[in-house]
Amino acid sequence: MGFLVTTLIFIVVGIIASLCARICCNRGPSANLLHLTLIITATVCCWMMWAIVYLAQMKPLIVPILNETE
């Protein structure tokens, strides 16, 4: 799974979550906008965290050196 595929999964999950929020708790346009904002923020945060860790391991400058006891 590459970077783009997983990013796409994040986007899809975000869209599904916002649709769920829209259908399950539809409390008028202003509340829906709040829910959408929250879901987008949460998705972006989670995606950023994942992307950072993924990118950092893509072209490793340091490799794991095992401990001698093991």
Binding site: M1, G2, T6, P29, S30, A31, L33, L34, T37, L38, T41, A42, C45, C46, M48, M49, W50, I52, V53, Y54, L55, A56, Q57, M58, K59, P60, L61, I62, V63, P64, I65, L66, N67, E68, E70
Partner: protein
């Protein structure tokens, strides 16, 4: 109202802006005033202004009624004291009686209080005489035992003394004998005694003082009473001694009596005659049992009375508090000159207008008033209060923001983003999905028992945890996510998503501990590769990763903050802030730290070995130098030069134009004020009040200094705030290291002994260390650091926070005020 034109930048969003408010005036006929205020209190959507601020509480219209309510509240407090003293469980049965009238209640409370006071007084009197009798009985019993011997020895002594004296007298000169003879009879005849009880801790001092005062001419006998005795005066249980003092002479008696009084020693009459003693004991016992039954009957009666009070206590208490608050509110209204109506002014949210009008109408009808209350909206330049309609989920997050400062009226509310970013940043520092699950279970327990817990009174710490249960819920969910990213379950990694991307360089795996493994597969798809854990290069790798992650997250959040300042500027139609604050700030922050973030990402993507510190430092020190091996992309030198130049330009851009433009705006505004006078009477009336607020003196120097401070703060803040985000790295490192220590040095060590007892001890220590240090202390410290990142680093980019909160007059909020 003119300056507050609402920009139509974006559709309205819940919680983003505080509710639009208006100042309303209600003119209420005096006969329906009480009912109207009561209905408005039920509604709870209007905050009354105090229109009689200059009057002292005693000068106000309804001072008497408030005094009455205060008196009733005092009686109720007295009842509560009595009920808790009698250790009744305060009955929660709320008997909803038909509307109780305040006057009836006052009479009833008065009667009940008088009755209770009388019962208490009688009970006390009876109890006192009972205790006295009990003491008396003790004295008779104890004193009787040693009385005879003591008496005889005292008499012997007295005789000896007398004979001594007479012997001495015989040696005296005859001239004095006459004088001695006159005093002799009194000395010889009176051999008295006093019996009673003295507190044990005072008995030694008592004895000493007696001895000194009478110069040794007494005989004191004491006997210890085994059980503590109830003192009739204080009603407390005290350890006491029975004493008998034998003495001779009237003066000695007086002295002894005084000493007894001073020591709190109760004296009781005592008959020397044995027959009389027996009789007294019988009498006393009889009276004791009689008193006992009387006291018991009294207690039962009192219990019944308290029971009936306890059943209705809550209802009465609520009624009295409600009435008191109504009169208190009525006192804030100004009374019309004709004394026929009251004028109320207050803030209310615009959406509540209809409800308020309904309540006013209902009050008019129910009180059979002839005239309707008049409701009208006032125009003012005063800053309205800030009111967010929160629910049980969002209120805790809003409180996090409010603890820093209440938002200015209609200012962009950081609470919206705090709902997600706060738990997220917490989780970055608390990433471990094992600990996350523990936290989740704890908070789920609170949420499931929410209904039950919210009606209970909890302890201080518990109350706070319970109030923040939804914050903790999100914190737990995010820490499970970040735990999966960090690949830590109580510091143990799992190969959940795929096999590790690394393996040995050759079949023998000889270089695994020297040169290291080699990446053979695709990058581990989700989170950190499990192979890093407990490898020798774990720390260098994780440190570099988390440090860079902190900067990236920090730059993102600070950018969000500046963007919110853009939305604020649009909303308040403040173009100066967009052009001379938002844009240069964006350029400055992103020209330096946004560029750093881009460099970090490029370095990761290309696997370049460039030294980013070197790049950043020499970007300032010698921007024209060749980058050499530190070059990450072509044209980097030019880009850096441009960025540096932009950043340098943006500083005076932030500093200089805004104060001059404000001055220009002010001058132009001043010119306009020579416009024709508004001719309607209403505006003439309202203008003088509010003018003082509208045209504040324009001090150019002050504005300039303010802008200077603001600019310096932003420029320095850009550096220090970015550095401040490195706490994410530090705390997350501390958390993972601590949990590794507990896992390896406690659990694995105990496992290694192959001994069941050691293993159990190890598990117990591990659990306590995990709960105490990681789940409680680490949660607290990560919470505090997340709090700081929001309050300082995020909110100082856009948040003014100088508003004041909307406190509606509401009966629902009454409970919290008094206690």
């Amino acid at each position: 109202m003119g300056e507050r034109v609402r920009g139509g930048c974006c559709p309205p969003m819940d919680l983003m802006r505080s509710e639009p408010m208006h100042l309303v005036q209600v003119i209420i006929p005096i006969e329906s005033a009480h009912l109207t205020i009561s209905y408005l209190g039920d509604l709870g959507l209007i905050q009354f202004k105090d229109l009689n601020a200059e009057k002292s509480p005693f000068q106000r219209t309804y001072a008497n009624q408030i005094k009455r309510c205060g008196e009733m509240a005092r009686k109720l407090r007295f009842f509560r004291e009595q009920i808790t003293k009698a250790e009744f469980s305060p009955a929660v049965i709320s008997v909803t009686e038909a509307d109780l009238n305040l006057d009836d209640l006052e009479v009833k409370l008065g009667e009940l209080e008088a009755e209770l006071v009388e019962i208490n007084a009688n009970g006390q009197k009876l109890q006192r005489s009972y205790n006295e009798l009990a003491e008396y009985k003790l004295v008779i019993q104890k004193a009787g035992e040693f009385f005879q011997s003591a008496l005889s020895s005292a008499e012997a002594r007295q005789r000896e003394y007398a004979s001594n004296q007479s012997g001495e007298e015989s040696l005296e000169t005859p001239l004095l004998s006459e004088q001695e003879m006159t005093t002799d009879p009194s000395k010889q005849v009176k051999l008295g005694f006093v019996t009673g009880l003295v507190p044990r801790e005072k008995s030694i001092a008592f004895e000493r003082i007696l001895f000194r005062a009478t110069r040794g001419n007494v005989l004191l006998k004491q006997a210890v009473v085994d059980n503590p005795v109830t003192d009739p005066v204080s009603g407390e249980k005290v350890e006491k001694n029975v004493f008998v003092v034998f003495f001779s002479g009237e003066r000695a008696k007086n002295k002894i009596l005084k000493i007894c009084d001073a020591f709190g020693a109760n004296r009781y009459p005592f008959a020397e005659d044995l027959g009389k003693q027996a009789q007294t004991i019988n009498e006393v016992s009889g009276r004791l049992s009689e008193l006992k039954t009387t006291i018991d009957a009294g207690l039962v009666h009192r219990g019944n009375l308290l029971q009936t009070i306890g059943e209705q206590f809550e209802q009465w208490n609520f009624l009295v508090r409600r009435e008191k608050s109504i009169y208190h509110t009525l006192n804030m209204l100004s009374i019309d000159v004709t004394k026929k109506c009251l004028v109320a002014e207050g803030w209310s949210p615009i959406f509540a207008t209809k409800q308020i009008q309904d309540a006013l109408h209902r009050a008019t009808q129910d009180s059979n008033s002839q005239v309707d209350a008049i409701f009208q909206v006032l125009r003012t330049r005063e800053m309205p209060p800030t009111y967010f309609r929160t629910n049980k989920f969002t209120s805790a997050f809003q409180e996090i923001v409010d603890a820093y400062g209440v938002a200015k009226y209609q200012e962009a509310n950081p609470g919206v983003f705090t709902i997600v970013t706060f738990p997220f940043l917490f989780a970055v520092m608390f990433g471990d999905w094992g600990h996350g699950i523990c936290l989740l279970l704890a908070t789920l327990y609170l949420i499931i028992r929410e209904k039950k817990l919210s009606s209970q009174k909890l302890g201080d710490i518990m109350e706070m945890t319970f109030g923040g249960r939804y914050v903790i819920l999100l914190m737990a969910l995010f820490s499970i996510y970040t735990g999966l990213i960090y690949n830590e379950f109580f510091s143990v990694p799992f190969e959940l998503f795929s096999r590790s991307a690394y393996s040995c360089r050759d079949l023998s795996c000889s270089e695994a501990t020297t040169v290291g493994l080699i990446k053979v597969r695709d990058t581990y798809p989700f989170g950190a590769d499990p192979v890093w854990h407990s490898s020798r290069s774990e720390l260098p790798f994780l440190n570099s990763l988390k440090m860079k992650m902190s900067i990236l997250l920090g730059v993102a959040q600070m950018n969000l903050g500046i963007i919110l300042s853009y939305f604020n500027a649009i909303f308040f139609a403040n173009n100066i802030n967009i052009w001379f604050q938002f844009i240069p700030q964006m350029i400055f922050l992103n020209g330096l730290f946004g560029y750093l973030s881009v460099l970090i990402i490029i370095k990761w993507c290309t696997g370049s070995k460039a030294d980013l510190y070197h790049v950043m430092i020499y970007m300032f020190l010698s921007p024209t130098d060749e980058l050499g091996e530190n070059q990450l992309f072509p044209g980097q030198k030019i880009t850096q030069l441009v960025l540096l130049l932009l950043a340098l330009i943006s500083v005076p851009w932030m500093l200089l134009p805004k104060p001059f433009l404000l001055k220009l705006q002010h001058d132009r505004h001043h010119g306009e004020s020579y416009a024709p006078l508004p001719d309607s009477e209403e505006s003439l009336q309202s203008e003088p009040n509010h003018d003082s607020h509208g045209h504040e003196e324009f001090e150019f120097s002050e504005i300039f200094v303010h802008q200077l401070i603001h600019t310096i703060e932003f420029v320095l803040g850009a550096v220090s705030n970015t550095a401040s985000y490195l706490r994410l790295w530090a705390l997350s490192l501390a958390h993972s290291e601590l949990s590794t220590v507990f896992y390896e040095k406690v659990l694995l060590l105990a496992w290694g002994y192959n001994n069941i007892i050691i293993l159990i001890v190890g598990i117990i220590v591990f659990i306590f260390a995990t709960v105490g240090v990681l789940l409680v202390m680490e949660t607290l410290s990560a919470f505090l650091h997340a709090l700081r990142l929001h309050w300082v680093e995020f909110q100082n980019k856009f948040y003014e926070g100088d508003g004041y909160k909307f406190y509606p007059y509401s009966f629902a909020l009454l409970d919290y005020e008094d206690e």
